[in-house]
Amino acid sequence: MASTACFMIVSRNDIPIYEAEVGSVPKKEDAAHQHQFILHAALDIVQDMAWTTSAMFLKAIDRFNDLVVSVYVTAGHILSFV
């Protein structure tokens, strides 16, 4: 894998429930929590998009440099970010 992926599950009130890192890239010290910021910024976008579509899987809703954020929304608005 080219880069590491971060998987987060967020409840409907923006409370993170689960977080996992998937990947084989050694963790960079300076950007240790970068993916958390990226996913946090994507929260707003997801909230808006969740109302426009009735599909559950929203692909590639946001880009940051070369990282792409996609999200799976369940019926109870529980968001799973990658």
Binding site: R12, S54, A55, F57, A75
Partner: protein, 242 residues
Amino acid sequence: MIGVGKIKQYTNVLDRPLSKGKQEVSLSAFAFLFSELVQYNQTQVDNIAELERRLEDAGYAVGARVLELLCHREKGNRRETRLLGILSFIHSTVWKVLFGKVADSLEKGTEHEDEYMISEKELLVNRFISIPKDMGAFNCGAFVAGIVKGVLDNAGFPAVVTAHFVPVDGQQRPRTTILIKFAEECYSLNARLALRLPDIHVLDQLKREPEQRKTSKNAKTSNDFTGWVLVRNNVTPLSCST
């Protein structure tokens, strides 16, 4: 998992199909369980309102889970984003799974725009319950009202849901009606645009926007700033024009 006989061995537990479980529960078992639930709560509270609230909270937890489960099982992973959609989902799918039949009717209230009613000739939970005279207005349908509230809240449509008795002529037992009153939030700008319903609030906002843009016409940067503000306010059709 539930101990159904191992018909086929899968190498990986994740590949095994999810079992649907037993679809039917015995009615008498449920009646006993529900009566015990009501009795237990009765010993804990002092007045009717508190008892109704407790039943509603119990139903809320059920509703939250039922929403996720049914969206996955029945609707093939499609969420509900429309108000009418979620109401008809409750009225048919949820009722069918929980009570074995669709609800009797779904009506829109005439006095207020944000009120809807699901009514049922005889609510399953009330079938084996008799209310003593001194607890006149109490309705065990508060449990079902809690289920509906759980479904609506978790789908993003906050509402106040209550159960009422409506006497019907020519019938001994009154009809039960679940009254759903949606909160203001459901009618917010964003939701209205998503639902594509015309609304006075939307028209007012749209009328105000051109004046906002006129004042910032002098500098290009301020135009961009207005555009950003519009996007943050979720008025998506207008953000494109800036």
